[in-house]
Amino acid sequence: MKLFLYFSQTIGLDILDSKGQWVARLHDIAMNPYSDIYPKASELIMRRGSYRREYAKVSWEDIVYIEDEIRLKIPAEQINFSKEIPKCDFTLRRDIFDQQVVDIDDQRVVRVNDIQLLRAENQLYAAHVDVGLRAIFRRLGWMGMVDLIVFCFNSKSPYLTHEDLIHWKATQILPKLGRMKSVLKLDVSKSKLNSIPPAALADIIQDLDIFARVTVFKSMDAVLQNRVFTDMTLSYKEELIDQLTEDEVAQLITNIPADEATDLLMKLPREKTHHLMGLLGTETNKKLRKLLSFAKDSAGGLMTTEYLYLKADATAADGIKKIKDNINFPGTIFFLYIIDDNHKYLGTTSLRRFFNEDPQTLLINTCYPENIHVSTDASVEEVALLLERHKSSSIPVLNAQDILQGIITIDDVLEELITLAWHQYKEKL
């Protein structure tokens, strides 16, 4: 008895009843995804007839053995055939076989060519999914021939030695067709997706079709949604929000960094932007409205209004408290900006500069000696040059009256410069 068998090889096996009479052929295997680490086979679905197909299901307890044929404990009369395929929560053929799944380890979307089943004490478990080329030839019935040909050319070919199997634990099933209510609740193994870093997860869900994308996105918790959404490409963000409700979009826009939200709003048609702005809370609305008024590639367009600031009379103790209170702040928390009562910019200090100071020291005295800042209409290149010259990772943006408007962090500059460089590179080709 083999320990492993392939699902493709079980499809079509003859099923015999308790008297040894032929009943039907195996069509599909229903699994219980909640059972163990590995889903356990719970029912088998059989079919008979070629023109008018009839289906029936039998519980796994009624099976004597599964070998080159399947033997049942019950007589054929006890099996009720019907024209409809019996409803099951989760079956191998319908939900995994030939479908796309996410490979959690390699963080990619793959297509399942076969499923490796583990046999233990007359139970079947789904152990691995096979995504290799060899599985395609196995299903076409050409594996022996192709193996032989490859062996003749190169006996150590990775095609023969390396199996493209993905462990069940690292396999995330996707909703079969997004627009249908998926029978399988995605949150069963939601935690699998949660183990992927948001940036990689953003890449993965961009590889899915639009409906699967929405379903997977909606299955995430709000914090993960914000982070994944932030990391998605602009055009995909646009496509995704078309599929979300207005409340969901408003939530997202409020909770992602303000500069990302601005980029998205700028890309949208104006009517839509107006409409969305109306749904936002007054605070967010005010913040975004200001950012939206600047040209996209100017300092004003690049900056974010999310920064931590204190008045001129604040001490080092106040500074540390401010940082502690804002530990989940979406923007940078390592820099504090000191302003006067009119929000006029006075200086920048960093955690490193006041952390070890006497708690009573005024923060204004720990500020950087060189006072670097840019105006709202400065160009990306100017900002980049200043950041490089002062080896700094963020820079305050002031208006003509020296009022602090926002800050630019180095990642936003990089993003803009990479786009520029990429365009130039493409032009050269």
Partner: protein
Amino acid sequence: MIFWQKDKADSFFKNILVFLAMLGPGIITGSVDNDAGGITTYSVAAATYGYPILWTMLPSFIALLVVQEMNMRMGACTGKGLADLIRENFGIKVTFWIFLGLLVADIGNTATEFAGVAGSMDIFGISKYVSVPLTAVAVWILVTKGNYKISERIFLLFSVCLLSYVVSAIAAKPDWHQVGLAFVHPQIQYDKNYLIMVLGIVGTTIAPWMQFYMQSAVIEKGTTMDDYKLALADVVIGCIATVAVAIFIMVACAATLHVNHVTINEAKDAALALKPFAGALASSIFAFGLFVASIFSATILPLATAFYICEAFGFNAGIDKRVEEAPQFYTLFAAILIIACVIILIPNAPLIAITLWTQDINAMLLPVVLISMQLMVNNPEIMGEHVNNKLQNAVGWSTTIILIVLTVLLMVLPAFDLFKAH
């Protein structure tokens, strides 16, 4: 006042922009459809049978519209390509045979495109041993090194070039009364060659690979059922444009070649034969149109074929991937290009036989693809509430069945000939 006006102008402009953004899949598919093979079939048919054969464009239009609408709806509903859907719903064996057929047919189709390049350049005095390899290299560079801007410009150029057939047709001074009559009173002949020609026309208008292309293009645009009306408008406009261009090609040939009893075997002959009747300019324009159409389809076809095959079998694909990231994709693309190129460059290659074989494989493949589509588009598990309604089914199935009957006839008729001969 000024703001109000600005807003209004803006929203009108925006409506057009939205439409243009949605506009695309149908029109591009339609344009690729008028490739070297199409131009050859249309011009040979019109030269042989004259204006009366124009009626075939009506059923072609309806069939094209029905099939493309289904593709668009499936793409908008599922967000998946046709290759994906076939793989997920019919399993690997069906997928494998469909795609083997598609691969062979598309190598043949690509060879036909290169034959178009060779033929049209021949008119300008450039040998095929120069033009074909150069075109292949240009296609490779365009695909691997090109960017969106260049591709877009090339596409625009191509669309403009299709208008060249309108010029050719008008220069040929056709009898418009007869053109109109051909649609109002179709005259149908009942002999074998005529039947083959009719099937050839319908078959070249609805090629199997187009269905895959159309659906992928719809998904690429991010179309969903919310955009159905705009997408439908695009499909209708695309079909009209395709058929209109085909009609102009046929009119140009019917007005000159048929009237003067010139018979031709290739699109190149049509360009050459136009010269004495419609002038050197019309002839050159016709040849140039053929050249651009061929080069455009020679780019799209191998690319699209490689893409669907990879999609169906789960390999990485796309021109945004590097060669190491998507080896299967680039291998397939290069292989199709090279094989097609070599076929054309073999001295005394049986080009007509290759064209006929390609048409046969296309014809065999088409019913399989259409039946798969019909089954899926009627499956509520795939389409939800957007399954075909009764009218769509009636038109869809009758199109499918008529095409199958015609195809079977085309396959069986040569066999009858063999019996007669012995």
